[in-house]
Each structure stands twice: as structure tokens, then as C-alpha cells.
Subunit: 244 residues, 2 copies
DNA sequence: TGTACATCAGTGAACGCGCGTTCACTGATGTAC
DNA sequence: TGTACATCAGTGAACGCGCGTTCACTGATGTAC
């Protein structure tokens, strides 16, 4: 009985499996193209099928429904952003937390500029009626996890600065509010530090969203040079808040 | 010839004009209800007509197109948010800039929570293909104008703090980047102050967007008490950046 | 004040379009023995 | 190795829906004289 070995071999080369894989990718690629061209809410199963030259019903062999496809795309976008941030951060010397933070910020911005619609897919207006399933939470927190690791690590490496925001005593209400995230974060980090870390995190996405949605029009000069200079000055501010 | 007087009088009571006004309001109200229920991109002319018991074509006597209606709704939303912020700010003693800033922040958050979908209409994912016309820029800057006024006013009232972010010298690139907004802001405000004011401004909207789009799930405890405590701690951070 | 005409709000049918999803089906690939 | 059966990818027609916008029209309101 070399049953298992044969099964495994067969599967590994199976024409069906290979085609399936290839076409699955093609569906996703077409979907991403569509999102890049006109945003997530005009994503259409029929348009994807048209693009691939298939019957519109064929897509349903690959994704159970439009929502299932959307979920996969959301997960992929979070992963793509997470990967970009991680690899940018990894390139910086471990003992330069400020530099690592900068790298993350720039990676997020760069990725967002290069993938506007994917960015809005994950950080834009929630799609009404769409409830993100559990599978999205892991990929969704990759950037946050990076930041938290950085916060913890650099906190342990340096003496507490007494005049920094981090040392401000937190209210009991804030302490309670932080309970959920606290579950995954070392107690070395004070409530105030954790809260301001989070706040900086949301400020980063606020800044990127502002730029991408045109709120800087007539405010900051158009063009990458100016936009980047302003973004850099924002990073300086965040670094100061974190007292790195 | 009392022609003009008569025309004016007639117009003032004109049944047609009154009806027109009433129905115009009804169309807008129905549109806002629809947005509140399911967001801006499912706003439909036909659904509004249905709601009002009119023929679907009748709406076109009031708004030239869906885009025109959307524009009006966007303007109204900006105005509604602006009014909320202004009146909250006006209630605080003039010589308490920190309090005035707090009031603005809370007003923005309160308005956004009470009008989620309207908030996303103006600060959410840009509608692809929709180009905001010139009429939206005035209302769009009401909150920003308040903040800038506050920045200018409180800057003039106090000595420059040397160790604050505000005193960090700005790069030439940042100076150039700020040119557009500079046109409307006193030179008393340094580049660094202006940039960090702006940054705080976008952080405010980042924080509100994060809360509204559920990014705080499993991070900050659900419920107004906790959410508000966290928001308050964020305001503290922003105030520190502005050194108020 | 009364009459003739102009303006305007609202109707209902139609155009032309796109969508998600289901279903019975064919023909190719894979599996068991 | 060859045969019988099971699985699966893809088809094309159909269901039932909703949308924005146009158009010729009717009847009410407003205006000029």
C-alpha cells in the first residue's frame, strides 16, 4: 500500500490543482485591478468574469460570494501593508528605535500612495452591511504589532523620562479603557505610554488618510517633495510624543 | 408703477415658492435618512422619490442630478459639523485656549458619533469619479478655521516656549510645503507651529475615524465611558504638542 | 377685475444599463479496483 | 493497464432586481395688461 505516497505525488502535479491555483490568482488579480481602477464598492463579480473571458457564473467555483471575495481581498491588503512595514523596519539597525519608527511610518505612507484604493478598502468608510469575519483580525494588526513591539522594546532599554507625557498618571477610567489591548502588552508599559502609543498610531493613519483623500489641497503644496517634507515633520512630532 | 413692490410681495407669499421650499427640504431630509441608514454610495434618486411618494422623475425638478444632490448634502454636512464645533467653542471663556480646543475636539467627536454616515460622506473614502466643486471649500474649512484662529490668538498671547516642538527650526522644504496655507495665516506663527497645528488637526480626525470604523475593537473597551476616557487622554497629548 | 398666455411641478412610460446568484447541463480530469 | 464511476470547472440561460436619466404630457399657479 503506497497509497499515500501516490496520492501525494498525484496531488502535487495534479493538472486540476495547478489550474485552480492559477485561475484563483487570476480572479484575485482582476479584482485588485478593478479596485485599483474604481474602488471597492464598484467591485463586480460579472466584471471580473468578463475580464477573464469566463461565464459570470464561473467565478462562483472560486469564491462563494462577493463578500467572500471581498474578505480575501481585505486580508491580502492587510498582509501586503503589513509585509511592507515589516520589511522596511527590519532593514534598520535594532538599536535605533527612532529610525525603526520612521521606517514604519514611511512604509505605511508609501504603500498607501501606491495602493490608494486598497488602502481605502481597509482604512476607509466601512462597507455598510459587510461584517469583517474573524480571519481578518490577524493580518489587520500586523502594523500595530510592530509598533507595540517597538514600544515595549525601547521602553525597557531606557530610563523613564519624568517630564514626558509617558509619566503623566493615567485616570482610572483610562486604565479600564485600555483593558483589551493590555491583554497583549507587557505591564512594563504604563497606561499613559500605551495610550499615547495608540494615539500616535491613529495619527499616522489620520495623516495618510488626509493626504490621500485630498484634504491637504490648498493647505500643503502638491508634489511628493512637499508632501514628504510635511510628513517628515509630523514624524518628528510623533517621535517627540513617544520621547524617542 | 408699484411693480417692484408687488413682485416682491407676491414672491414672498407665493404658494409655489413655499411648496418648492418645503419639498426641497423633504428631498434633502429623505436623502439624509437614506445616508444615515446605509451610507452615501447607496443613495438613490429613485429611493428618495419612493419615500416621498412621487414619480422618480420628479426629483429632477429639485436636483439636476445625483451628483448635484450629493454636493448639496456634502456642503450641508460640512456646515452642520462646522456649526457644532463653532457653537461648542463659543461657549468657553475666551481666555481659556486649552478649554476651547477641548470643546472643539469633543464637538467633532460628538457630531461624528451622532452622524456616522454623514461623517464618512465628508471624511471617508472619496467617491470615485466624484469631483467636489468649488462651493464645498468654504464650508469644508470651518473647523480648520476655528483651530487656526485659536492657534494665532493663543500664540500672540503667550511667550514662545523654547523647549517646545514649536521652536524646532523648520527645514526649507517644510517652509515651501506650507506655502498654500501660509497665504491665510499670520506670520506670527512659525512654520513648525503651523505644521504641528495641522498635524494635530489631522490626528483629531484620525482618532475619530478610527473609533467610528471599528479599528478600536479589541483595543479600547467598548462603551462611551471608555471611549471618551481614551479620547480625553488623546486631547491631553495634543494639548501638550501645542504646549497649551 | 378678467382674460390670455407663460411658467412650472409632477406624471408615467420608456431607454439602456448593470448587478449577484442559481441551476441543469457538458465534458474533462481524477480515483478505485 | 483498463474500465467504471465520481468529482469538478466551466457554460449559458434565466430570475428578479435596482439604477439614473429623458421625454412628451397635463393641470395648476403666476404674470402682464
Amino acid at each position: 500500500m503506497w497509497k499515500y505516497a501516490v496520492m501525494a505525488m498525484t496531488k502535487a502535479v495534479s493538472i486540476r490543482a495547478m489550474n485552480r491555483e492559477r485561475i484563483n490568482e487570476a480572479v484575485l488579480a482582476a479584482a485588485r485591478d478593478q479596485i485599483a481602477a474604481s474602488g471597492a464598492n464598484s467591485l463586480s463579480m460579472r466584471a471580473i468574469a468578463r475580464e477573464l473571458g469566463m461565464a459570470s457564473s464561473a467565478i462562483y467555483r472560486y469564491f462563494e460570494s462577493r463578500d467572500a471575495l471581498l474578505t480575501k481581498l481585505i486580508i491580502d491588503s492587510y498582509d501586503s501593508l503589513g509585509r511592507a512595514a515589516e520589511s522596511a523596519e527590519a532593514r534598520i539597525s535594532r538599536d535605533d528605535p527612532g529610525g525603526r519608527f520612521r521606517a514604519i511610518c514611511h512604509a505605511v505612507r508609501r504603500w498607501a500612495l501606491a495602493n490608494r484604493h486598497e488602502y481605502f478598502l481597509i482604512y476607509g468608510t466601512p462597507v455598510p452591511g459587510y461584517q469583517a469575519p474573524q480571519d481578518t483580525v490577524g493580518p489587520a494588526t500586523r502594523v500595530a504589532d510592530l509598533m507595540i513591539a517597538l514600544l515595549v522594546e525601547s521602553d525597557m532599554a531606557r530610563p523613564r523620562l519624568s517630564q514626558s507625557v509617558a509619566a503623566t498618571p493615567a485616570t482610572a477610567a483610562l486604565h479600564r479603557a485600555l483593558a483589551p489591548i493590555r491583554a497583549g502588552v507587557s505591564n512594563e508599559i504604563s497606561d499613559a505610554e500605551l495610550a499615547s502609543g495608540l494615539s500616535v498610531f491613529s495619527a499616522l493613519f489620520g495623516a495618510v488618510s488626509f493626504e490621500l483623500s485630498g484634504q491637504l489641497h490648498n493647505v500643503i503644496k502638491d508634489g511628493e517633495a512637499s508632501r514628504r517634507a510635511y510628513f517628515d515633520s509630523q514624524i518628528d512630532g510623533w517621535l517627540a510624543v513617544l520621547s524617542w
